[in-house]
Homo-oligomer: 228 residues x 2
Amino acid sequence: MMMEKAERTEAGQTGHVARSDDGANPIAPQPDIPETGPAKRRLESRRKLMEAARRLFVERGYHATRPQDISREAGVGHGTFYLHFDDKLDCFLAFGDEAASELDVIIAAHLVSVQTLDDAVLEMLRGIFEYSRKNPGVLAAALTDISVLSTGEEVDRVVPADRWSLGWGRFLAEMQAKGHVAPDVDTTLAGYLIVGAIRQGGAYASLNGLDRDSTIEAMAKLFVRALK
Amino acid sequence: MMMEKAERTEAGQTGHVARSDDGANPIAPQPDIPETGPAKRRLESRRKLMEAARRLFVERGYHATRPQDISREAGVGHGTFYLHFDDKLDCFLAFGDEAASELDVIIAAHLVSVQTLDDAVLEMLRGIFEYSRKNPGVLAAALTDISVLSTGEEVDRVVPADRWSLGWGRFLAEMQAKGHVAPDVDTTLAGYLIVGAIRQGGAYASLNGLDRDSTIEAMAKLFVRALK
DNA sequence: AATCCATTCTGACAATTTGTCAACTAGGGA
DNA sequence: TCCCTAGTTGACAAATTGTCAGAATGGATT
């Protein structure tokens, strides 16, 4: 058992949020996006699978989506699915990684030129809700707790929820260093708490049709108070 | 489709936390715990299944546990499982309900004669962590997000996470009425945020072997600050 | 105590889903 | 043109799920 899990394959290639060629680094020769040869075919199959998987996971949920459905929706053979993913869980995690990367971009954009803790928290929440509006269901799906899906072993794998939690933790630590967060706050723990709160609160808000802006404000107020 | 879902069967009968005959109501003739007849057999099968399911869900997780495993572990026929539960999800939810009831009892005990918000939050967290220590893995499993497990339809069913969130919300509303919680706090939303935070934070704490007491204190401090 | 009968249990079975693999295809390079 | 490697394919074996006709249990009736 515990059979190595092989290569977690060539880092994402998100497609959607692709670096928009902002001229910053004119040297880099598109590191690993082959435009030709068999590798190109492979990448195209993967992209088709990822898009189909995303559509189905969001639309039907993890369980009601079968690998064969994904293959059919992607227009590739059933066996191809297993050439790109170990199994359904691996595919789901890849989907989560993709969403995480997309959200990271949105949030980074929101954080540009923000100074106070109040603004920062507000902007991060706005970023999250904005992404959620543009990509209904994606965040909820991506934040799925891996332990539920796991077929036993593989305790490893950093899931989006952890990634985001640690991100919030680092951010709070910075804010703490600048004196914007009370010194007695355990910033790492707080990062986890906040992500948990956002997940649960976001689900509640969207299920009950709460007003987006007032929810954001209410959440921000609570977070900021807790941290100051 | 949407086939009625039949009777959500005879309310739990938790076994573990059974009402301890506190003499309060000497009349009630043990409402529905038949000590004889075929109904008794049925109840015993159900109890065996519930215990086996709990053991396996906690030990192996939802996915690695198959209905046939539960039946075997319970020592009943494979078909019996389907006489007591619609399917695996239904069984899992019954397990969650059971855990929820047990935790409710523990928390109620912790809240006896508590007056201030600080103490109340602290005691609730202590209750949760105490239960978690006595029943490793049960809470994490019970708090599992249903949307992941769902096979499509059935949006309804109140899951433990919602139940607890609403409970916290009611509790906070009471505290707010007494002036212990700031009047501008949306207590319902706060209830959800807190449960989400506890879930994520608890998982983080147990995974990283954080000290129980200091985690409780750190969490309580953040919650109280947010609410006041 | 023999019989009846409603309730519950059982496990073989059909239907569905998952993951594998030998054969096949595409297309760059000699 | 032919070769050769990387990639694809779908039929197939294995595993799992949910059903149902028949069997068993035990209290009630005669």
